[in-house]
Symmetry: D2
C-alpha cells in the first residue's frame, strides 16, 4: 500500500565482479534513490540475480529514457532485465470453479487496496459465484467446458481482450492445455492443494489422508506443460492429526491455500519473483 | 519426568456403544484412578482406539492380576490391547553412522531424565562416535558392513542379547533388510530426512534443492519392508529460500531431524502410538 | 460440516475415581453412541473436565428427558454441566468498526456452511460495511457512539432482541463497559491484535515495532472487566523482520487476526471451550 | 561451514543517494567479488544499513590496506563500519549454571564445525557440567557467587585473559551487574525463556502457565542495563495447550531456547546483526 511511485528493476545475468557497482553507479549518476535492493548469486551456474526499487521522483526522466540509458550496460553484462512502474497496475484475470475461498480472499485484498492490482475479470465454468463477483462491479464470464478446445480459446480471447497481465487459477478445477501454457509462460499462476511434489494431480487431500501424513500443505506455482511441476513460488504446511477426516483436511486446506496463493501472488505482482530454469528466486 | 508410577492401557477394537463404559467401569470398580484418557473412532473402518493412564497406586493389585480381570472383557469386545508399567523402562538400541546430531540429542534427553528409557547400547558401522558414547558409559559396538548379511545378523543378535525393546535408526545410513523388518514389526523407528512421501531414498536434500521447494522436512516412521513407506509417527517442516545451498538445507535439516525424532520417540516410549494398517493414531 | 445431529455434553467437577465410568455408563445404558470424547484433570485444583459428543439418533429420547436422567448423577459428583444440540445453531451478533478483514472471513465461513451458526445481525459504529453485509441479507445496525452509555444500551437491546448467544468483537474499536462484560460472562469474544500479555491496549503493532520483536501475534479471548486480560481461547504468531514497517505489521496482522478469531470462534461454537478461573480448557 | 575465506563488511550511515554505488564501486575497482549483499533503509530515521561478503582471494590486499582505502569514503558518508575476516574466528566465553541443554547444543555445533567459533572457556557457578565440558578439552572455571562483586570481577578477568569476543549466557541464572553490561556493549548475549516483552524476570514458564497463554517462546537478546529489555536478535514460539503442566512447558522450552540461542548466536558470529538504538537489523 506504498503511496510512493516506484520503479522496480529486475536483472539476471552471468555472475562476475562489478555488476552491482555498474548498475548502482548508473542509477546514482542520475540521482536515483534506491529504496530496496536484493541480490543473489546462484553458485552452480554462476548466475547473478538482482532486484532494486528506485523512487520514481528521484530520477529526472521516465522509463523510456531509463531504457535508453540502460541498454548498453545491459548488453555489456548480457542481462535479462525488466523494469516496471508501480503506477501501472498489473491486470489479473481470475479463473474459478465452484469453491470461492481463494476468490473471496483475493477480492477482499483488492477492494481494501492491500493487493495493488486491477482485476480485469473473473472467468468460471460455473455460475455459482457470479452474484458475489458482480457485487464488486467486476465482469463475470461463464465459459461452457463441454468443448474444451473452444472453451480455452474463449478464455484466451477474454484474457487478450481484457489486456490482462496474469491468469490466476484460484481453484479452477480444469487442466490448462499445453498450448495455453506455452502462450503465457510465467503468466499463469496456480494454487495446488498439496505440498508439492507430494500428491500431484487429483484429490490430494484424499491421498494425504490415505498416506497418514502429519502435516498437509499448499503450493503456489507457475503453470507449465507438466502437471503440477512448474516453478514453485510459495508453499506452506499445517499440522493435522489422526482425528482429522478428509473433510477436516479440506477445511484446513482452504485456509492454507488462500494464504499461500495471496502471498505468492503478491510476490509476483511486486516483481519479486525471478524464474531460472524450473526454480524461482523470490526477493521477499 | 513424572515420578508417579503409571499403568498405560491401550486398546483397539471394532467400534460399538458401551466400550468406554465397560472399560472405565472395570477400572472404577477396583478404585482405579484415571490420570489421562484419550479416545478415537476411525469412521471408515468403524474402529475404536483408546489410551488410558491409571495411577498404579490406586489399584489394589499389579499387572498380572489386572490382566486376569481384563481378559474376559477384552474377549467380549474383540480387543487388541496392551498395558505397560512406567516402572519398566523401555530399552533402546540406537544405530548410527557418522553423523551424531540425533544421537547427541537423544543422549542429552536420556542423561537429563527427560526421556524415560534405558539406552542398552549404540551400534555403528563407524568408530567415529565411540568416545562420545563411552563417556556416557554406554556400550558401543562397531559392526563391519562389508558383508551385509552377517552384519545384520550381528545387529539382530546384539538387539536380542541386550533385550532391547526398540531399535532407533538415528541417521543410520544403511537399508534394513526385509527379514529384520519382519522380525521386529513396530519396533524399528527411523528418521528420514525429508517430508515423506516427497523425496524417498537417497540424498533427499539434493532432491529438494533441485525441485526448488520452499520448505524442507523430516519424518519419523516405523520401518517396514517398503523403503520410507512405513507408518508415519511425526513430521515437521522448516522454511528455506532460494539463497540456501544444499549445505544450508543439510544444516537446517539436522535441527528438524533431531526435533522430529525426539518427539516421535517420546510418543512411542509413552505408548502414545497405535498402528492401524499403514497409519498411526498418536494420542499426544 | 457434520450432517449427523450431535448432542455435546460438557462437564466440570472435582476430580475423583469413577467419573468417566458413571457418565459413560449412564449413556451406554440408554444405547448412547459416543462419537468423540475428551478428558482433562487439572492437577493443582484436582478439577476434572470432560466433553463428549453423542449421536442424537442413538438415544431413545430428547434433551429434556436426558436432563431428567442426568440430574441426580450431576448432583452426586457436584458437576457444572451443559448439553447442547447441534440442530440448535448458536446465534451471533457481530460488532465491527471500519476494518472488515475479520468480518469478511466470518461471513465467508458462514455462507459456505463451514461455521455452523446463524448470524443474527452486524452492529457497527460506522456505515462503511453496510452494503457488504446487506448483500448477505443480514441486518446491519449503525450505532452512534457519541453517547457511550446509550450506545451500549442500544447494543445490549439489539443483542437481546435478536436472542443472540454470543457477541463477537471482530475488530470493534471500542472498549466494552464493565456493566456489559458482567451481564454476558463467557459470551463476548474479542480478537486482540497482539500476542497477549504483550502489548495490551491501543496500537499494539506500533508497540511491537518500537520494541523490535521478531514475531507478532493475535489473541482470541473472552472479554472481562479487565482490559485484554480475559481467558485466552486461541493465539498465534507470525515471523516479521527488521525490514517490515508498521504498515507491514498491520498487513501480516490482518491475516493472523482472522485466522485466530475464526479458530477460537469455532471452538466456542462447538462447545470445545470450558472456562476455569481465568484460563480455558480447549478440547480441540 | 563455508571453506572460502570471506571478508564481511558492515556499514551504518545516514541514508542518501549513491551509497551502494560508492561502496560497490570501490570494491569493484580492486576486483573484489561480492558473494552476498544485503541492504536496508530505516525510514523514520533515514538510516542506511548494509552488509557485504567479499571473497578474500579476489582482493589484491589484506584488511590493513582495505582499511586504508576505505577510510576516506567512510568519512565522506559518515559511516559506522566494520570489516571482519572469516579466518579470524570469534572467541566465546560461555556462562552456564546447572542446566545444560543450551550448552550441549552449542558444544555439538562447535565440535561438528557448524558454528565457526573458538570456545575459549566455560564459566559456571556450579560444578555439575565440568566433566562434560572437559571431555571436549575446553577449560571449565567454577566461580563462587557468594560474593557477587568479586565473582563478576573474576568473570570479567577470565573473559579478558582468554581474549574472548563475546560472552554467551547459556542459561546462566544470575543477573549481570550494570558495570559489566556497560563494559561489553553488544558483546553479552542472553537466552531468555519467554517471548519478550511478556514474562520478564524470574520463572517465566510459571507466569505463562498462570496466564493461560496458548504458545510459549524464547528470546535471544543483547544484555543491557535494563533486565530482559536489550535489543532482540531472535525469537520463536511453540504451541502448548491446557493439558501441559509447568514441567511440560519447561520441557518444550528447552527445545525452543536452544534453537533460538543457536540461531541468534550464528547471526552474531557471522556479523549479520547490526544494532541501532534498542533494535536490531538481522541480515539473515
Amino acid at each position: 500500500m506504498s503511496t510512493t511511485r516506484i520503479y522496480t528493476l529486475t536483472i539476471s545475468c552471468p555472475d562476475r565482479a562489478g555488476i552491482i557497482a555498474a548498475v548502482s553507479g548508473l542509477i546514482a549518476q542520475h540521482g536515483g534513490f534506491i529504496v530496496e535492493a536484493s541480490y543473489y548469486t546462484e553458485q552452480e551456474m554462476q548466475r547473478f540475480f538482482m532486484r532494486q526499487e528506485i523512487r520514481a521522483d528521484s530520477l529526472p526522466f521516465g522509463l523510456t529514457e531509463f531504457n535508453a540509458h540502460f541498454t548498453s550496460l545491459a548488453k555489456e553484462f548480457d542481462m535479462d532485465w525488466h523494469i516496471s512502474d508501480s503506477a501501472q497496475k498489473k491486470r489479473l484475470a481470475i479463473l474459478v470453479s465452484k469453491q470461492d475461498h481463494c476468490l473471496n480472499d483475493l477480492l477482499h485484498r483488492w477492494r481494501t487496496g492491500e493487493l495493488n492490482v486491477d482485476i480485469a475479470c473473473v472467468i468460471s465454468n460455473h455460475m455459482d459465484l457470479s452474484s458475489f463477483v458482480e457485487w464488486h462491479k467486476i465482469p463475470y464470464h461463464y465459459v461452457d467446458m463441454s468443448n474444451k478446445e473452444s472453451a480455452f480459446d474463449t478464455i484466451s480471447n477474454l484474457y487478450n481482450s481484457y489486456q490482462a497481465d496474469a491468469m490466476i487459477l484460484a481453484r479452477f478445477m480444469q487442466i490448462i492445455p499445453p498450448s495455453l501454457c506455452q502462450r503465457y509462460p510465467g503468466k499463469i499462476i496456480n494454487i495446488h492443494h498439496s505440498f508439492l511434489p507430494s500428491f500431484v494431480g487429483a484429490k490430494p487431500y484424499h491421498q494425504a489422508y490415505q498416506r497418514g501424513v502429519k502435516l498437509i500443505g499448499a503450493t503456489c506455482h507457475y503453470v507449465t506443460n507438466e502437471l503440477d511441476a512448474g516453478p514453485i513460488i510459495e508453499q506452506d504446511t499445517v499440522r493435522i492429526d489422526h482425528g482429522d477426516t478428509v473433510d477436516d483436511l479440506v477445511r484446513y486446506g482452504r485456509d492454507i491455500e488462500r494464504a499461500v496463493l495471496s502471498r505468492g501472488l503478491r510476490y509476483h505482482v511486486e516483481d519479486r519473483v525471478l524464474v531460472w530454469g524450473n526454480k524461482t528466486i523470490v526477493f521477499r
